[in-house]
């Protein structure tokens, strides 16, 4: 065995801290470069750690989590690649390709499991509210840390404890015979934000603002296609000719938000004009609004009723 028990425990503890930092403080200690340096220090070779961390950092550059989507777990990938590279004398470049990237991709499934497991604690909180159990609400929210941290800790610990041979076999097995499950889980991870958006739409007054749902979707769908295609074109031209050095960026979401903001300002002005024009009917209007929103809040309890649809 190429690792000491202390090293295994330290690396496991760090990988558990990784996801906590990423979710909460976001101090950058949970980024692959830091993962490389810290794992390198634990293994006694900071420089190799930095090189591996840098490579994986560049791999995930610009890959952010949006709206609760899972991204590849480059941090745990870096931890394991660094540990195996230093511990077994594997070349850094080999460790990145053979362990870092595949492990990072595989661990997406664990991220999905953690996000799913926490639904259990959400329902515990529901019960606590009924019983005015304030400590329970706090405890059951914080206990969500358990699935989160274990989703990184368990695979990293097992990989280190079982050793490189087992990890390689696992990776080839999961990329071979079980590839359908692995890609399936990733497809599921890419699809699941749809559930979040659909729930969100049940809370918002969709019928009233349906035109803006269509606008937001269509503007983004068209522009993102254009931007993605231009990016692909730029990469292709860059590969074809060294003289072509211009790079194109992805569609900036802030711009889309600003277009939405403009519509919101117009709507605000329109309703303000209505209010100032008819101050007497104001009271009646506002009570109407409240009734509307009542329905949406009822929906919120996990069980969504159907009267809105049919």
């Amino acid at each position: 065995m190429s690792f000491t028990i202390v090293q295994i425990l330290l690396l496991t503890a760090y990988s558990m801290y990784n996801i906590y930092d990423e979710l909460q403080m976001n101090s950058s200690l949970s980024q692959p470069v830091w993962a490389g340096m810290i794992s390198g220090l634990i293994m006694g070779d900071m420089k190799t750690g930095l090189v591996i961390g840098a490579a994986l950092q560049l791999t995930v550059l610009g890959v952010g989590t949006f709206g609760g989507a899972s991204k590849i777990d480059a941090n745990s990938g870096t931890v394991l690649a660094t540990a195996f590279s230093i511990g077994t004398g594997m070349k850094a470049a080999t460790a990145i390709a053979a362990i870092g990237v595949p492990v990072a991709a595989l661990l997406t499934s664990f991220d999905i499991l953690a996000r799913f497991a926490n639904t259990y604690f959400q329902h515990k909180v529901d019960k606590d509210i009924e019983n005015f159990n304030y400590k329970g609400i706090e405890r059951h929210t914080i206990m969500g840390a358990l699935p989160w941290c274990l989703s990184r800790g368990i695979p990293v610990f097992l990989a280190l404890a079982l050793g490189q041979g087992v990890v390689k076999t696992m990776v080839t097995y999961l990329n071979g015979d079980l590839a359908w499950l692995n890609t399936g889980l990733q497809t599921a991870g890419a699809t699941l934000p749809a559930v979040g958006f659909a729930i969100l739409l049940h809370y918002l007054p969709v019928k009233k603002h349906i035109a803006y749902l269509i606008l937001g979707f269509t503007i983004t769908a068209l522009l993102s296609t254009v931007f993605t295609n231009i990016q692909a074109l730029g990469t292709g031209l860059g590969a074809a000719s060294k003289a072509f050095t211009t790079t194109f960026n992805a569609l900036p979401m802030l711009a889309i938000a600003l277009i939405g903001g403009a519509f919101a300002i117009l709507e605000y002005k329109k309703s303000m004009a209505k209010i100032t024009a008819a101050p007497a009917t104001n009271a009646a209007n506002s009570s109407d609004d409240e009734d509307e929103e009542d329905d949406e809040i009822e929906d919120a309890n996990g069980e969504v009723d159907g009267d809105e649809e049919e």
Binding site: N26, A54, L61, T191, L192
Partner: protein
């Protein structure tokens, strides 16, 4: 606690409250993140002590407020306390009557703040700082890492400060612009709906990798779908899930299971794939 009971419709946040909310937000806001209600329990956890002060322990109003704040919520964890600040300003002043307005404002604001926060702090800052740190680290120089840490600590300070600012803005909103609040809620929910449309088109990265072979002609299904409308597949999935959620006896947990099973099955037969 008893004392606060009588001061019900007029609770003002103290410095201690600010610190407590900020601490909970920075260290525990996303721990309960789940597919069903995302940051729902986290939002409630962040403001629970203040809710107890506003409504008083054991009151039906408190239960109603706790339920309202335990619903679906998801925004950037860099901006969440802005929404919290506006929320508590309104609730502290108007009590349980304002819960509908507050729910509307929360839903209206979370979408835009998620979009802005994610593009700034989940994409832009890590891209710039990550590129700097990685370029230096590739040569074995850890300086870029510490630079990144310093930038992110500065961002944390900014996250800590924004609550106070938002609370003051919220208080001003309630006291000075009574009539405008409805107009604002309306505009905020409009923005929310618009942003959800944008998110559907940009954040659900799935496609149909199926290629049909008709004799010697191979036909890419996705490119045909793109000719009709790009991102049609994500739109259809959201529409289906929306419809499913409206069914009697359907819970979001069940829907999540259904989506996972269908995604794996469709991916296995090659109909659905990640981009």
């Amino acid at each position: 606690m008893k004392k606060n009971n009588e001061a019900q419709p007029g609770y003002q946040l103290t410095k201690k409250d600010y610190n407590q909310i900020n601490k909970r937000s920075l260290f525990g806001f996303q721990m309960g993140w789940n597919y069903e209600r995302m940051q729902g329990s986290g939002y409630l956890y962040t403001i629970l002590p203040q809710l107890r002060k506003i409504y008083g322990d054991g009151t039906p109003e408190l239960k109603e407020a706790m339920k309202t704040h335990n619903q679906f919520f998801n925004t950037s964890n860099f901006f969440n306390t802005i929404i919290t600040g506006i929320d508590l300003a309104i609730e502290g002043k108007k009590g349980a009557d304002s819960l509908d307005t507050v729910a509307g404002i929360k839903t209206g604001l979370m979408g835009p703040f998620a979009a802005i926060g994610d593009s700034l702090f989940a994409a832009l800052v890590p891209t710039i700082m990550g590129a700097i740190a990685a370029t230096m680290a590739a040569q074995g120089n850890p300086l870029g890492l510490f630079l990144w840490l310093a930038v992110n600590i500065a961002i944390m300070v900014f996250r800590w400060k924004q609550l106070h600012f938002a609370y003051k803005t919220g208080t001003k909103l309630v006291s000075e612009m009574q009539g405008q609040l409805n107009a604002l809620t309306d505009a905020a929910t409009l923005l929310g709906v618009f942003i959800v449309g944008a998110l559907i088109a940009s954040m659900i990265n799935i496609q149909v990798p199926l290629v049909a072979h008709l004799g010697k002609v191979s036909l890419s299904v996705q490119s045909n779908i793109d000719m009709i409308l790009p991102k049609l597949v994500p739109a259809c999935v959201v529409g289906l899930v929306y419809w499913l959620l409206g069914k009697k006896g359907m819970t979001s947990t069940k829907v999540i299971f259904i989506v996972i099973i269908f995604a794996i099955a469709l991916s296995a037969i090659g109909v659905l794939g990640k981009i």
